[in-house]
């Protein structure tokens, strides 16, 4: 059992911002973070003087590799005019900015700072697909990459173990993909704001224009089963099981609870935070589960005094469709082996009892890896303030939401619970 943890003092969110996610030829990390930062400033209801920010924690996985430039803390601090205040980079692969959030929370909870900016950035699209694959594979465990496991390949192996243990199939993964794509058109910042049906129609139109045989799929699953439309990347992970290559940035303004009402009458509070570390395949307890997620969840639930059933909706790290299925069980939203059945029944849809990835998830919103953690929390903050527009979770008294972020093949996992009081 874990020790029950608590913060030295409360921490709240006063504002948040996020750039559009996508592949941008004409915009770099600095431009994207500037966009997120400006939105954050204008989101603070009563306004904030940026000079009051005490420090920056910035998540970035590997711009060193992607754009051949390291040391992003001071670069971004320069962009937003924060110098000479401290800027610290955090790295936890795809969970890099969830770690920045966590460090920012600790810095305020300790009493050292009153206002901290946390965020993340990644710029991946300037590289070829093969190079990005190589860059992401830097976050797999050495024993796995050397015998040919790619990043999708490692999650594919988790899928085969999950299938064998619980009786799920590829068809169940398709339910995850279809659900996330149904949310995406409702998110104006999403990289792929399209349903699977939209994608099918686009391909049909394109075939008609080119004068080539027009494909006829009877439904979304038929499209996803078609190897021409949805080829295997690392079986059983197919193209539509995998998140895209993305550029983007996001940030959140954290403030000590005792002063947050100077900035907004609708603050969102940090109720629980958790982080865990995982092991390689050869050493982990269960190939169909992520122990780092379980540890992170236990820490966050313990700190908040909340139970899984209290969480009204959640962003869940879906770098690959199987990751969402496994994590909704590891986070105890569903019992082991029940997650895929719940998804099939529509439980995780926007209008279901437990909406998952209202943003469209990494699959559709995009996954600029270092920016993802705080972009998930941006979504939860937006939902809790009732400002998610067409994708607003249709529940009365929306009060508690969460975000789960994963780095590597479960090497670093975080779980953060936010609360509107």
């Amino acid at each position: 059992m874990q020790k029950r943890r608590k913060l030295g003092r409360g921490v709240a969110i006063a504002g948040a911002g996020m750039s559009k996610f996508g592949m941008f030829k004409d915009r770099d990390s600095k431009d994207l973070f500037a966009e997120a930062f400006k939105e954050m400033l204008s989101s603070v209801d009563k306004g904030v003087d940026p000079k009051e920010i005490d420090a920056l924690y910035l998540g970035n996985f590997s711009n060193d590799f992607f754009v051949h430039q390291a040391h992003w803390g001071p670069i971004i601090s320069d962009v937003i005019g924060l110098y000479p205040k401290p800027a610290t980079r955090t790295e936890g692969a795809c969970a890099s900015s969830a770690l920045a959030f966590r460090e920012g929370v600790f810095a305020i909870a300790s009493g050292f700072y009153d206002m901290v900016l946390v965020g993340g950035v990644e710029e991946m699209s300037k590289r070829t697909t093969e190079e990005v694959a190589e860059g992401l594979a830097l976050a797999t465990a050495p024993y796995e990459s050397r015998v040919g496991f790619t990043f999708p390949g490692a999650f594919a192996a988790v899928a085969t173990a999950y299938f064998a243990k619980h009786g799920a199939t590829r068809e169940h993964l398709m339910n995850v993909t279809i659900k996330s794509h149904n949310n995406a058109p409702l998110n104006p910042k999403a990289q792929f704001p399209m349903t699977i049906r939209d994608m099918m129609n686009m391909k049909i139109e394109s075939a008609k224009k080119k004068g080539i045989p027009v494909p006829a799929w009877e439904d979304e699953k038929a499209f996803l089963r078609d190897p021409a439309a949805n080829p295997s990347v690392a079986w059983p992970m197919h193209l539509y099981d995998c998140c895209p290559i993305s550029d983007g940035a996001s940030c959140i303004l954290l403030v000590a609870e005792e002063i947050v009402r100077n900035f907004t009458d609708d603050p969102i509070y940090v109720a629980g935070i958790g982080q865990g570390s995982g092991r390689s395949f050869h050493d982990c307890e269960d190939l169909s589960s992520f122990e780092a997620t379980k540890y992170a969840a236990q820490e966050a639930y313990g700190m908040s005094g909340l139970k899984p059933k209290d969480i009204q909706f959640s962003e869940v790290h879906d770098c690959f469709s199987i990751a969402e299925l496994v994590h909704i069980e590891d986070l105890d939203f569903f019992r082991p082996g029940e997650g895929y059945k719940a998804v099939a029944e529509g439980a995780t849809r926007l209008d279901g009892p437990m909406p998952i990835n209202t943003s469209g998830g990494l699959k559709c919103k995009g996954h600029p890896v270092g920016a993802t953690g705080t972009s998930q929390l941006y979504e939860v903050w937006t939902q809790l303030r009732g400002k998610a527009g067409k994708r607003q979770v249709p529940k009365k008294n929306l009060r508690i939401g969460a975000a789960h972020n994963l780095g590597g093949v479960g090497g670093t996992c975080t779980f953060t619970i936010l609360e509107r009081r």
Partner: protein, 143 residues
């Protein structure tokens, strides 16, 4: 045999000699494959090498269509996928390995739980020589 340090480099040297070696803690009996520099169960450094029989069962796998550069150099691509897997060893514990002797173009025929035996893939020469741990179907043609 000279006493090698309990390290990943030694693990790979053993593979090059066609031996799958792990370590066992002389104090508490915990075993680790690949080796660790000390026992993480009791933190003793009193370890010994143990050779694995090299038999096990397939616990998880993938058939990779988009290979990394070093596998592409071996001629693998979209049309010629390869299989990588996790093998549950007879002695307990697991290893990640390449899976040979299966048709990676027909992944739905590859069965979790299928019995496997160790094999070693040698590539390159001189300072570039590498040995990759691999497993292949054991004994009678199952499936």
């Amino acid at each position: 045999m000279r006493e090698r340090p309990f390290s990943d480099i030694s693990y790979n040297e053993h593979l090059h000699e066609e031996k799958l070696m792990g370590v066992r803690c002389r104090q508490c009996g915990a075993a680790f494959v690949p080796p660790r520099p000390f026992c993480v169960a009791c933190y003793s450094s009193d370890l010994e090498w143990v050779e694995m029989k090299g038999r096990g069962k397939l616990a998880a796998f993938t058939c990779v269509n988009i290979p990394p550069p070093f596998m592409m150099a071996e001629g693998y691509d979209r049309k010629r996928p390869y299989c990588s897997g996790v093998v549950e060893l007879e002695e307990g514990g697991r290893v990640a390995a390449r899976i040979e002797g299966v048709d990676a173009r027909k992944p739905e025929k590859i069965r979790i739980g299928m019995p496997l035996k160790v094999t070693f893939i040698h590539r390159g020469e001189g300072p570039d020589a590498r040995t990759y741990l691999a497993f292949e179907p054991a004994g009678d043609k199952e499936s």
